[in-house]
Every structure is written in structure tokens, then in C-alpha cells.
């Protein structure tokens, strides 16, 4: 087990370095001026040159890359060009907010996805299966930013039950777990949960259908095992794959919630990335992508390890 763990961590290292290289190259290849957030287009060329030197953008790409990686290894992701605030401080605060949102959305998505998946798998080709499958297809297909806007129109603009935007009455820095604050989390979390719900439901339905058709289930039934006992075996066999899918979905939600966070002005990583992109704030963009990518790699590592715990056959393979 320990050797497997060490092997997986060692595999992750070149991936992380590759991610750092790719994210540095991508943000530098993109067109636009890295100083545009602090330098209007009518600024003189002299002024532009002066600022390029002051911010170190006149150095060669390799020098800029290695200097960035060296500082990143020491925990310093630089400062945002637009705000002057440390990137690490900005990113980790946003990661906390997104994690809260993504974790709740994943839980909602996993609960309902697993429920619909099991029901559909157990009663396949019945009307229950058709309804559950329809819901899961809608979950996968519906554009979530559209769903978010519809929810805002209904529950904020019309019924005035839930706040339309923000992360708490005084901002996320004063977040506490009471209803006044949770109200701000409900709509973005429900909107965000639709895709994982649909994906997990479809995955679990297919798994349950597959497992139920396997010989060991017939064997269990032949030996007189009750419906609940069979159900336990099915759940146990489904769990590793469903968990892997859930882990991946959590990873996607951590980085892929730009639209939802923008619609709800939720101060997470998606909102931060959106601003960094539009302001061409390279240190903030690089730092956010790097942290998210590392998070994704770590999450995959964690899921791999958990899968091994649940199903030792994976380690042997």
C-alpha cells in the first residue's frame, strides 16, 4: 500500500510541473497586454516600456518562467497586477468559497444522482426508470447559467425569497452557518448540482443494470439472500466507480464554475478567473490555474487511493 502511495505521488510530480509549464505558456500566448489593467491604451510607449521593466515583463520567457516556479515552490505566487494584493491570499480565499459551494453541490448531486440511478437501474424500462432517466438527461443537458438565471428570476426577482447575488449579507469574510447566510448558498449550489446529478445518475444506472445481470447476483438470490442483502452487494460493487465519478465532478466544479459564480457573483475561483482573464492579470491567472490544477491532481490522487482501499484488486492491477 505504502509503495503504491509513493508511486502515485511520484507520478503526480511531473504532472504538476507540466501543468505549471502549460499554464505559464497559455497565459503568455494569449493576445493582449499584461499591463492593460493598469495601463490605458492611450498611454505613451515610453510609459509602457517603463512599466514593462518595472514589472519584469521585458525579461525572456524562460527567465520569467523559472523565476515564477522558484517563487511558487516557496509559496509565493506573486502579486496581482490589478490590485497589488498577494495572489496566494486571493486564490486561497476564493478556493475556500468555491470549495464550500462545490462540496454542497456535489453532495446534492451525488445524493439525488445516486438515488435516481439506483431507482432507474433497479426498475429499468419501467415508468420509474423513464422519469429518473429523463431527469438525469435534463441535468446533463441544461445550460447551468440559464438554469441559474431562471432560478434568480423566480426566487429572487418574483418571489423575493432568496438573495440574487453575493456570499452573505456582509460578504464572505463574515460567513457563518446560519440561515441568513445559507440563503445565499442555496441557489448557486442547486444550480451547480444539476450536472453532477445527471452524470452520477447515468453512471449508477448503467452500473446497477450491469451488476444485476451478473452471475453472482443470480447466485446470491439462488442462495436465498433477500432483496436488501442483494442491494448491499450491488451498492458495494457500484461504490468505487461512483466515487471516482464524484471525485472528478468535484474537481470539475472547483475549476469549472465560472458561469455560475459570475451569475451569482459568488466570490470563488471561477469569479476570480473571470476577472483575471478580462483584466489580463497574468500573475493572478497563472496562480489560480496552477492552484486549481494542483487541487485536481491531488483530488485524483485521493480518489485513486480511496478506490484502492475499497477495492484492493485495483492495487494489484
Amino acid at each position: 500500500m505504502i509503495s503504491y502511495l509513493i508511486r502515485r505521488v511520484l507520478y503526480a510530480l511531473p504532472i504538476m510541473l507540466g501543468v505549471a509549464f502549460l499554464c505559464f505558456m497559455l497565459v503568455h500566448i494569449a493576445p493582449g497586454d499584461p499591463l492593460m489593467s493598469i495601463l490605458p491604451p492611450d498611454a505613451s510607449v515610453d510609459l509602457q516600456k517603463q512599466l514593462m521593466e518595472l514589472y519584469g515583463f521585458n525579461r525572456s520567457y524562460p527567465v520569467q518562467f523559472f523565476s515564477w516556479v522558484w517563487r511558487a515552490v516557496h509559496g509565493d505566487l506573486g502579486s496581482s497586477i490589478a490590485t497589488g494584493r498577494p495572489v496566494a491570499q486571493e486564490v486561497f480565499k476564493a478556493v475556500g468559497n468555491t470549495l464550500m459551494l462545490a462540496a454542497l453541490a456535489t453532495l446534492i448531486g451525488f445524493f439525488f444522482g445516486a438515488l435516481f440511478g439506483f431507482v432507474a437501474g433497479y426498475f429499468r424500462n419501467s415508468w420509474v426508470d423513464k422519469i429518473a432517466s429523463f431527469i438525469s438527461v435534463v441535468g446533463v443537458s441544461v445550460p447551468h447559467y440559464w438554469l441559474g438565471m431562471v432560478l434568480v428570476i423566480i426566487f429572487s426577482s418574483q418571489l423575493m425569497w432568496l438573495p440574487a447575488t453575493g456570499a452573505g449579507p456582509d460578504g464572505s469574510s463574515s460567513w457563518i452557518w446560519d440561515f441568513e447566510h445559507i440563503k445565499y448558498l442555496i441557489m448557486p449550489a442547486v444550480t451547480m448540482s444539476f450536472i453532477p446529478m445527471g452524470i452520477i445518475a447515468r453512471t449508477v444506472r448503467a452500473l446497477v443494470a450491469d451488476i444485476l445481470s451478473q452471475e453472482f447476483v443470480i447466485g446470491l438470490k439462488a442462495r436465498g439472500l433477500g432483496e436488501f442483502g442483494v442491494f448491499r452487494h450491488v451498492v458495494k460493487n457500484c461504490a468505487p466507480t461512483a466515487m471516482a465519478v464524484m471525485g472528478l465532478q468535484l474537481g470539475y466544479l472547483l475549476g469549472g464554475s465560472i458561469l455560475i459564480e459570475t451569475v451569482f457573483s459568488w466570490p470563488g475561483t471561477g469569479f476570480l478567473l473571470n476577472q483575471a482573464i478580462f483584466q489580463r492579470d497574468l500573475p493572478l491567472l497563472q496562480g489560480t490555474i496552477l492552484v486549481l490544477a494542483l487541487f485536481f491532481v491531488s483530488l485524483n490522487l485521493l480518489v485513486d487511493i480511496l478506490q484502492t482501499v475499497f477495492d484492493p484488486r485495483i492495487e494489484r492491477a
Partner: protein, 550 residues
């Protein structure tokens, strides 16, 4: 206690009402504003996020030496004294200006505003060796006052500013230099850990701390700052100008970049004021009792034309025809009425308007006649390529407006093609110019601009000295007569004479037509009816200090 006696009941009711009304009288008046910015504009004195920054974190928290008069809606804003009581150029050396400062002004931290503070604030962006020099503030400041070079204290209330060349536009440019408190910054510098030894890094950290706990001289003081989420300001009861002493206790500003989210926040009662409501929601917003305020801004939405060899716009008849073929009233209807019809960079009534002989209006017959004279017809249309964006700050509704123009111009024998590129890239290309490969061979570029001061409204587009890469004369327009008027205006220090020269310049530009002028933005905002005293001036800015709330 049993209240059976009618007089006792009356007394009890009166007491209860008295208590209620007393509670109401002391209830805190809080104004919540949703901005279009994606982040709180910088709070350290020199805001980013364009003029929305000046509007919300500049003017409310800070003062400058000169300011825009925002008290009138019926005429263009003009520059008036702020922290400077008066100013004059040195009669012998016209690169030197003497500014007399307002006495008795205090920063929010209690320290005095004086000539030392002015020198310190000039140095923060112009003197690389100054301990408070901040590169991040240089771009947005120095570009808006390109000729300012240094400041020198004469006495506590007198300061001398020096420019690189005689420049009568300086007092207008100085509306962009906000005065931050040197003492507050010094406190933040002292709090930087001793382990940070690099001078520049210490200054950077001090500015970051100052931005979170800023101190200016403005009518509102900063009380709470949550980066990217909210800024809270409280009224400065000791503000030096009694006319602008705030009546609203607290202002909360929220960055909500998405128009539908802003609209929902307004309709759900989360905010009292939104900038740029979603156009489709205007009827709903009005039906819910909110007021829509708008007024043409010093903003121009044009096509800026190329004058490179081979450009189709070198023929003046073609330039005139394009200007005459745009159906501006119909475009205004398309935009729900939220557009001013542009007949130049500034409109009649503005001191720089002048008397152009070319009257811009919708006259397709005259346009077709000009095009026929120039050798074009429906069978042989003139091909033009325009570089545009699909969105962008100040760009209004660029795709639908450009497509509308494309249809209009087709009727006047133009075959318009678009090169649609991303907004920031287009913005960057603006300075690089029409000769650069990034222009993709375009004959015009569609970038809106602010026209608040003479340099930004006119000079940078038509001066031959402003050709790329120096400034925004994207199309390499050059005219010795125009250059001569600019030189004269820049060195004329009497405001009325200078405005007369600028009017002459504007008239010349309209007659030369280096642009197709299309629209002025109207800066629409939706505000709750309980907010009173709202004056929407003909400006990018608005004064919150003079408003009150029910």
C-alpha cells in the same frame, strides 16, 4: 396596566408614535450600489476600472486639486476649484503653474492637507526615487496628465507644478490626481515587517495596506473593505464643503459585472441602485417603481478611419457619405432610447462645439449622390473592412449597432465587412495602429472613447504627433492646419480663448470627418424612488454626496 380612559389611550398612542418616529429619524440611511465592475475599483487614490473607478472610489473618498462640477444636468460639466482655490500659469515660464491651496482641509485620519501632501501625491506616480513611488498607479495617472513632470512646495498653501511643455489642459487633467494621506501611508509603511528589506517591496506592501484602510479628504470615509465583494463608506460629517456634506449615512458598493444579476439584485431589494440595467428589463424596472436616469455622456461611439495609402476613406466625399447614411434615430430606437445621436465629438451647446459647415444627419439621398460622384454604385460598391469587438467597456451593443450600420451603408453603395476580435486585443491594437499586421488590413476601427478633456476628446486622434505608437491616431491622420490649432490651444492660458480655439479645432475635425460619428452613451442607471436629489450630469461621474434617502 389597563388603558380604559380615552385620554390615556391617546397618550399611549402618541408616545408609541413618538418613539417610532424618533426611531425612524435615527434609522441609518444606507445606499447600496451595484457597479458594473468585476472588482471593487482600487481604493488607494488612483482607481482602476476606467471612469467607473473615479466615479465610485475616487470622487466619493478623495478630492483633487480641480474637480468637475456635477451639480447640473442641463449643460456639460466644467472644471471648478476643489482642493486648489485658484491657479495661474507663470507669465515668464509657461511650463510652471502656481496652485493656491484650500486652507483647513483635513484627511480622514485627522492630518492636514497642505503643499507637502500635493508634492507627495505627485511623487507617488512621477518620482521613481520617492519612497512612496508606486508603479501600479503610474499607468492610470500619468497617461491622463501626460505633460506633468514635478511638484515643488512654495509655502504650506502654495505649490508649483511643472510641465514638460506649455500645456493649458493641465487644470483639466488634474481632476484625475486624487490626494491620498501621506500620514496614513507612513503608518502603513511603519507596520511592514522589518524582515522585508527591499525599499520597493516595502512601499508596495504599504500601498496594499493603505488600499484596505484608505484615507483621503472626500465626503465619504472608508469603513469596510472585502476585496472583490464589497466596499463600505461612512459619511464624513466634517467635510470641508457644506454643500457636499453627505446626508446619507452609509454607502455600500458591490461589484456585479453581469447585467441580469444586477437587475435581479435591484428587483429583489438587495440594492437600491444599479449601473447599466439590462436593456430588456427596463419596462419591468420602471413598473416596479424604480427610476431610470440617463443623460448623454462625454463619450463617443465612432468608426475611426484609416488614412493610409490605398484607404477608401482618403476621398472626403466617401467620408461624408458614410456619415450621412447612418440612421441614428432608428438606431436610438433599437437601443430603447438609451443613446445620444452623435453629430460630432461634442454636441451643440458644448463650449468646444464650434460651427462646422458639415452638418451630420441622416440624408441617404445626399450620401448616394456623393458616392456616385466618387464613382461607386449598387453594382460597384465600395468595400470597407472594419475591426470591431463583440463586447467591451463603453462599447454599448457593438454587434447589433455595427450590423445596423452595415445595413444602412449598403443602401449607400458600401460593402462593409467586419473583422470581429476580442475586446482587449482590439484595445491593444488601437495603439499599434492601422499599419500593423494586427489590424488585418482594416480600413476603420470601432472603439468608443471618453471625451472629457481636449487631449482625450480630440488631440490624440488628429495630431500628427500622436501617430502610433505614441498615442491613438490609429489611422495616421495628418493635417498641418489641425496641428497648428492644437499647438495654439495648448499654449493659450485664458480659458475662454482656449475654448474658442478648441471650438475651432472641433469644427475643423467635423469638416474633415476622420470619423464616422454614430452615438453617445447615456450612462443609464436605475435607482430606487426613495433616493432623492439625484442629478445625472452630462458627465461620466455623479455626485452621491448631495443625495438623500427617505
Amino acid at each position: 396596566m389597563k388603558l380604559s380612559n380615552p385620554s390615556a389611550l391617546t397618550l399611549a398612542c402618541a408616545l408609541a408614535f413618538g418613539l417610532l418616529s424618533s426611531a425612524g429619524a435615527h434609522a441609518e440611511k444606507v445606499l447600496r450600489i451595484a457597479m458594473t465592475a468585476g472588482d471593487i475599483p482600487r481604493t488607494l487614490g488612483q482607481p482602476d476600472q476606467g471612469f467607473e473607478g473615479n466615479r465610485f472610489t475616487g470622487i466619493p473618498m478623495y478630492d483633487s486639486l480641480t474637480q468637475w462640477d456635477l451639480s447640473k444636468a442641463d449643460k456639460p460639466s466644467e472644471v471648478i476649484p476643489d482642493l486648489a482655490l485658484s491657479w495661474a500659469v507663470d507669465t515668464k515660464d509657461k511650463t510652471k503653474w502656481i496652485f493656491k491651496l484650500r486652507p483647513g482641509v483635513k484627511f480622514h485620519d485627522g492630518s492636514a492637507f497642505n503643499a507637502d501632501a500635493v508634492v507627495w501625491n505627485v511623487n507617488k506616480v512621477l518620482d521613481k526615487d520617492a519612497p512612496n513611488f508606486d508603479p501600479s498607479q503610474v499607468g492610470v495617472t500619468a497617461s491622463r496628465m501626460p505633460t506633468l513632470r514635478s511638484a515643488k512646495k512654495i509655502d504650506d498653501l502654495t505649490v508649483e507644478l511643472t510641465t514638460s511643455e506649455p500645456d493649458s489642459f493641465l487644470p483639466i487633467n488634474l481632476t484625475n490626481l486624487f490626494m491620498a494621506s501621506p500620514l496614513q501611508w507612513a503608518k502603513k509603511l511603519a507596520a511592514v515587517p522589518g524582515t522585508v528589506s527591499d525599499k520597493a517591496e516595502r512601499a508596495k506592501q504599504a500601498w496594499a495596506a493603505f488600499a484596505a484602510d484608505a484615507s483621503g479628504t472626500g465626503p465619504f470615509k472608508m469603513t469596510k473593505f472585502v476585496p472583490r465583494e464589497r466596499l463600505e463608506l461612512a459619511k464624513n460629517s466634517e467635510y470641508w464643503d457644506p454643500k457636499r456634506r453627505p446626508k446619507i449615512d452609509k454607502v455600500v458598493m458591490l461589484p456585479l459585472p453581469e447585467a441580469n444579476s444586477r437587475t435581479a439584485a435591484l428587483l429583489s431589494g438587495q440594492v437600491d441602485w444599479i449601473e447599466a440595467p439590462a436593456p430588456d428589463a427596463l419596462d419591468t424596472i420602471k413598473a416596479r417603481g424604480f427610476k431610470i436616469y440617463s443623460n448623454p455622456q462625454p463619450h463617443v461611439w465612432p468608426w475611426q478611419l484609416s488614412f493610409l495609402p490605398g484607404s477608401p476613406w482618403l476621398d472626403k466625399r466617401v467620408r461624408y457619405a458614410a456619415n450621412l447614411c447612418v440612421n441614428r434615430p432608428a438606431m436610438k430606437q433599437l437601443l430603447g432610447g438609451l443613446m445620444g445621436e452623435a453629430t460630432g465629438t461634442v454636441e451643440p451647446g458644448h463650449p468646444w462645439r464650434g460651427n462646422p459647415s458639415f452638418h451630420i444627419k441622416y440624408d441617404p439621398d445626399s450620401a448616394r449622390k456623393l458616392m456616385t460622384e466618387a464613382g461607386y454604385s449598387a453594382a460597384k460598391p465600395l468595400k470597407v473592412k472594419v475591426q470591431i469587438s463583440a463586447s467591451g467597456s463603453g462599447q454599448m451593443q457593438p454587434l447589433s449597432m455595427n450590423e445596423f450600420m452595415q445595413q444602412n451603408l449598403k443602401a449607400c453603395f458600401f460593402d462593409v465587412q467586419f473583422d470581429v476580435i476580442e475586446w482587449n486585443t482590439l484595445y491593444t491594437n488601437w495603439r499599434i495602429g492601422a499599419k500593423d499586421p494586427s489590424a488585418h488590413g482594416s480600413d476603420a476601427v470601432n472603439i468608443s472613447f471618453a471625451s472629457m478633456d481636449p487631449f482625450f476628446a480630440m488631440v490624440r486622434f488628429v495630431s500628427s504627433k500622436a501617430a502610433p505608437p505614441v498615442s491613438n491616431n490609429w489611422g495616421y491622420y495628418s493635417n498641418p492646419e489641425v496641428d497648428a490649432i492644437i499647438a495654439k490651444a495648448r499654449t493659450t492660458f485664458d480659458a475662454k480663448q482656449r475654448d474658442a480655439l478648441l471650438a475651432q479645432l472641433h469644427a475643423k475635425i467635423v469638416d474633415e470627418a476622420p470619423f464616422v460619428w454614430v452615438a453617445h452613451d447615456t450612462g443609464p442607471r436605475a435607482i430606487s424612488a426613495k433616493v432623492k436629489g439625484v442629478v445625472q450630469p452630462q458627465s461620466w461621474f455623479i455626485d452621491i454626496a448631495t443625495m438623500s434617502m427617505d
